[in-house]
């Protein structure tokens, strides 16, 4: 059986994984436009690195790892831009709770965006993409132990953030009445 051309194989991968990768990018960056750009860039980079990907089965993992890395890079860049524009000394992040539409999901996604990049990646890969600890570790290039500890700390931090939002929300409600 003939091996499909690089472009055909990539087209097949696109049909199967583009939506998943865009979703992953959105979960990591909180921005659809950026998420889609990152997903496209991941396909272009996979095309460039095709010779290094030994088995076609490992291409999805390569794509996911590329999306994670590009999200981290784009977040750093965005952080720099925000600091440059606003002259902020501290970290800045997308705040869904403040900018959101009042839905509970917006609070959750906002809290997710406030996590550090690696913790956020652990939570997203483990629970949003249903990857095992070993798969998450392989995608992030860290040990399984690191994935466990980072995930636990991330969930704890999310709890704290959501509790804080719940405490603030009734006050806002009261003042509106």
């Amino acid at each position: 059986m003939d091996r499909p051309s690089r472009q055909d194989a990539l087209a097949a991968l696109y049909r199967l994984h583009y939506a998943e990768l865009a979703r992953l990018g959105f979960a990591l960056t909180g921005d659809w436009a950026q998420a889609e750009e990152i997903a496209q860039e991941a396909f272009v980079r996979t095309w460039r690195s095709w010779g290094r990907i030994r088995r076609e089965q490992s291409a999805p993992a390569y794509l996911r790892a590329t999306v994670v890395n590009l999200s981290r890079t784009s977040l750093r860049r965005r952080l720099r831009e925000i600091r440059a524009w606003q002259g902020l000394a501290g970290p800045a992040s997308t705040n869904y709770a403040a900018d959101g539409n009042g839905e509970p999901g917006a609070d959750l996604l906002g809290a997710l965006q406030q996590l550090p990049a690696r913790k956020r990646a652990c939570v997203v890969l483990r629970f949003c993409l249903d990857m095992s600890e070993a798969e998450t570790a392989a995608t992030l290039g860290v040990s399984v132990g690191t994935v466990k500890s980072q995930t636990a700390k991330a969930l704890q931090r999310l709890r704290e953030l959501l509790d804080a939002v719940e405490m603030v929300a009734p006050q806002h409600g009261g003042s509106d009445e």
Binding site: E36, Q40, R48, G105, V123, F127, L155
Partner: protein, 368 residues
């Protein structure tokens, strides 16, 4: 809220966002980018080729020793170790500068010039030279072009016959200071200028040469050039190269070099033991030498005279400017750090004059 609720909430929130956002088909965009990839690769390869080509042309030039700095031969092995073999007593506070030549050491003293035999270290003659080392006007001395030349009291120059020890001519130069013999001519500072004297006729030749904005302080002869340091504030950071043949002056901007005291190993040497490129005036190498007072170049090495609690000679490797070999102590000096000292070199050895103690030290390489 427990972990399960958080995870479930996150999944739900993400699914809601995905449903709300309609993903467009981006494959055509990706395909367009993939079509541009070969062109991009070709461009990267072309840039890499240009970089490699430039590197191939320039790197060997930079790696080649001496391509951008004056060549330095490996530090020669000395025939022995430097030792003090004698000292001659002269009047304390009465002798300031020295010159070596005509088998003698010549020292400018107060109203007198001393001639010391360079083999025995014995004082041979006291030659009357009224006005030398007068108040407010220092004297300088040089040996060469068939005579010994001593400047006196800002008024002129004595020409001494080295064979007879007699003053054979008195040359009038209005505001005389430092003196040197180079390129068959006598070079002397006259107020803010340099003037050249033809030793055959004892006459000033050519026009006075303007060097910087202040009186030239130190004249150091080198191959084809006279190196001049002036101590005017507006000349700080400049070294002047005066062409011996044409008298043309070139100013080298050297903001960190303090002065030029010696020439050797294709370089200039400052009193702070900095090796300076004579082409662009930039410091090639410098190693901090505590208490460095003066430097001279002799027997293929730079020698730094340092003053701390004692006078010490240090041999400096020209290639690295690092101290090499053992320090050579000469003795105590007073007051510390401010003793006027002069160094002279010649075939007979290395000579150091201590103004305050009135001592002339003779150092030679002593074979083991």
């Amino acid at each position: 809220m427990n972990d399960d609720q958080i995870v479930a909430g996150l999944r739900h929130a993400l699914d809601t966002e995905v449903k709300r956002h309609r993903l467009e088909d981006r494959w055509p965009t990706i395909e367009r980018r993939l079509r541009r990839e070969p062109k991009r690769r070709a461009m990267i390869a072309a840039i890499a080729a240009v970089i490699v080509l430039v590197a191939a042309v320039t790197v060997p030039h930079w790696l080649k020793p001496g391509a951008h700095h004056p060549p330095v031969k490996p530090t020669p092995k000395l025939a022995g170790r430097l030792v003090v073999v004698g000292q001659t007593r002269l009047p304390r506070g009465g002798s300031l500068n020295l010159a070596v030549g005509f088998h003698a050491v010549w020292v400018a003293g107060v109203g007198v010039t001393y001639q010391i035999d360079d083999r025995t270290g014995r004082l041979v003659r006291k030659i009357r030279t009224p006005g030398t080392i007068a108040r407010y006007c220092s004297s300088d001395i040089a040996a060469g072009a068939g005579a010994v030349w001593v400047t006196h009291g800002c008024r002129g120059i004595y020409r001494i016959d080295p064979r007879t020890g007699s003053v054979v001519a008195r040359l009038r130069v209005r505001d005389v200071g430092a003196i040197a013999v180079a390129g068959g001519l006598v070079w002397v500072t006259d107020n803010h200028h340099l003037v050249r004297i033809q030793p055959r006729t004892d006459r000033i030749i050519g026009k006075p040469i303007s060097v910087g904005a202040w009186t030239p302080g130190v004249l150091v002869p080198g191959p084809g050039a006279l190196w001049v340091t002036t101590y005017g504030a507006s000349d700080l950071g400049n070294i002047f190269r005066v062409d011996l043949a044409t008298g043309s002056v070139r100013r080298l901007w050297s903001p960190t070099a303090s002065d030029v005291e010696a020439v050797g190993a294709g370089s200039l040497w400052s009193s702070q033991v900095e090796r300076i490129n004579p082409v662009d005036g930039q410091i090639i190498a410098a190693d901090y030498v505590p208490g460095a007072y003066a430097v001279t170049f002799w027997k293929g090495s730079a020698w730094a005279l340092t003053i701390q609690r004692t006078l010490v000679f240090l041999r400096i490797d020209p290639a690295t400017t690092a101290v090499t070999g053992k320090p050579v102590p000469i003795g105590k000096t007073f007051p510390y750090q401010s003793s006027p000292l002069a160094i002279g070199t010649g075939p007979s050895g290395l000579w150091v004059l201590d103004f305050y103690r009135g001592l002339l030290f003779h150092l030679v390489l002593w074979a083991r």
